[in-house]
Symmetry: C2
């Protein structure tokens, strides 16, 4: 009898239920747990500040209404394993992840804070490498590190390093995902699933160098700042599709807009190696985490211009992958396959892999 079965049986018997890996997978179980423990237990006034955006509306971060414009804040704990992977490490990931969340809210990142928890006995050189990667992003993106915390836990109480970052940004007009409209085109800025496939392969002991897999982790400032300036008012929704992949983000969007989102298999930019690897393991690329990808819903009148502009910024794999439609299947996401059929794209259930980001 597997552990999961056991837990399920105990739940039925009315005994104590345990926290499962899937509760942290970023999919349906996460939403349900957060709803039960937090969202359902707070009145609206304690879910957001007045005129702001909070946990009442699922998005990359929160926004506070100030006298002039908005302050954006995002927070995430990074627990990725292994700490170092092709394309980056936990330090780079933690800095880029929270910066990207602010960018996807339409904000200009202006400051970052970190809280690092380290295992006693960890090689100092590892901590140094991680912090160097973190500071490189701070430098490259010109986002000051304005505060932080460091804790050490006794050996055995935590595995290596956990980095939590919160990023602050400002904007006159936040991009809130419920701005999505029927007719909008869905755009991705690059290939999908790269980060998720890479970490999964590493965790399964596969020689990643052989496969050519590489995480896409990067800060999207060089994409989003010009894009917001040029086409800001046409971007109706923007998401940093990490855990749960674009499947999770698109399902959120179809629900919030009461629409059907249709995406086309043949339009999805997917690296050969990511496709091969996910086919082999039977995982859905749409559910794999991305760490340097923008997912946008854009006014159809400018969608092609936006893609062309993204190409000119060096995001040569950017593509329109689908659209937002009316239809009977409100709240669903459909994939039109290469052979012509439709399949429902589900929000992920269960944890595909722990410690993915």
């Amino acid at each position: 009898m597997g552990r999961r079965t056991e837990v399920f049986k105990r739940a039925i018997g009315g005994e104590i239920v345990k926290v499962l890996l899937s509760h942290g997978g970023g999919g349906r179980e996460t939403s349900e747990l957060l709803n039960r423990l937090i969202f359902s237990r707070l009145p609206i006034d304690l879910k957001r500040t007045e005129g702001g955006i909070g946990i009442d509306r699922p998005d990359d971060g929160a926004a506070l209404k100030m006298e002039e414009g908005y302050v954006i804040i995002s927070i995430d704990s990074y627990t990725v394993k292994p700490l170092f992977f092709p394309g980056g490490d936990i330090g780079k990931l933690a800095a880029c992840g929270s910066i990207n969340d602010v960018l996807m809210m339409g904000g200009r990142p202006i400051g970052i804070v970190d809280a690092v928890v380290v295992e006693e006995g960890l090689d100092m050189s590892i901590l140094e490498k991680v912090m160097s990667s973190f500071l490189k992003v701070v430098n490259d993106e010109n986002v000051p590190l304005i505060g932080g915390d460091l804790k050490v836990m006794p050996k055995g109480d935590v595995d290596s390093i956990i980095v939590t970052t919160a990023c602050l940004g400002i904007t006159k007009t936040p991009i809130v995902d419920d701005g999505i409209k029927i007719g909008d085109k869905i755009i991705v800025s690059g290939t999908i699933g790269d980060h998720g496939a890479t970490i999964m392969a590493l965790q399964r002991g596969i020689d990643v160098k052989e496969t050519g897999l590489k995480s896409d982790v990067k800060a999207l400032t060089d994409l989003m700042e010009p894009l917001l300036k040029e086409y800001g008012k046409y971007i109706h929704a923007a998401r940093d599709p990490t855990r749960g992949g674009i499947a999770m983000a698109l399902n959120d969007w179809s629900k919030v807009s009461g629409s059907v989102i249709v995406i086309y298999e043949e339009k999805l930019p997917i690296r050969e190696e990511v496709k091969a690897y996910s086919d082999m393991l039977g995982v859905d690329v749409l559910q794999l985490a991305n760490e340097g990808l923008a997912l946008l819903a854009v006014d159809s009148a400018v969608a092609d211009d936006v893609v062309e502009f993204m190409h000119s910024l060096g995001y040569e794999k950017a593509n329109v992958i689908g659209e937002v439609r009316e239809g009977r299947l409100k709240g669903f996401v459909l994939l039109k396959t290469s052979i012509g059929g439709f399949r429902i794209v589900e929000a992920p259930i269960g944890s595909i892999v722990p410690r993915i980001c």
Copy 2:
């Protein structure tokens, strides 16, 4: 040969040095490590936003200069063990800790975000209790929870729960600790060392109920909001003296102001049980963590009025415990003992106890 000796020898031999518990103790080793890994490696422009307060000035949090006033942000990871203790639990601690940091920067807390990392297999009832305590503070203090993250780590990768919180606040005039002046009086809002003594006793298996020890964890909104309103301009420095206790905070202050800070043993409000327990174990109460205590440097002209006002707000143990002086021992903190001598109060070295907050 103890582990510490071994690590030291390896360091001398030029081999890899390990992260030690003391690096996370909040004392001198923490400062030195952060300086080496972070502070010394960033130019001033990447340590704070323009016109703001960042890691260039050690304080409870950071401040960003906005068009109108300042946005304050604080962040901390909470790793306390045990999760539940007389007076509170990790949920209450995480909410109060970051709120208090904002208050001590002179800010009005306006929103909080959390990032929770949970161990797979943890009893759901424990997570529920912790989140309930967290939400109770959100409710009681009327600080909306505007965003968050939840991760689950596989069994064995983390011990129970780590909660990271960042709190946002606003103020027209932040209280920055380098505002401290010669002649200022040092005030505490209540008894010292309660939290540290309680957690230490629990970790050493002592029956805390017998001792009467109890953590002081609480949000200081009911103290700081009226105090800032009434006496804001006379408060030259304010600190939430958690890890490292008031010894660490006062040492920071004496260094930043190039003054001598003298405190009087007989004026220190210390509970009998805290005194008895710390005498027994030979720990310095001044170095014990506090989680519901305000440490202030106040213009001497109003110091007695401030204390009286604090009494009227229910903080009946509030007291002037010392003062900021000129003198040859610049950068030092001195304790005038009950029998008349002076002893140097050092910033803590080594980790008194891990997972204290």
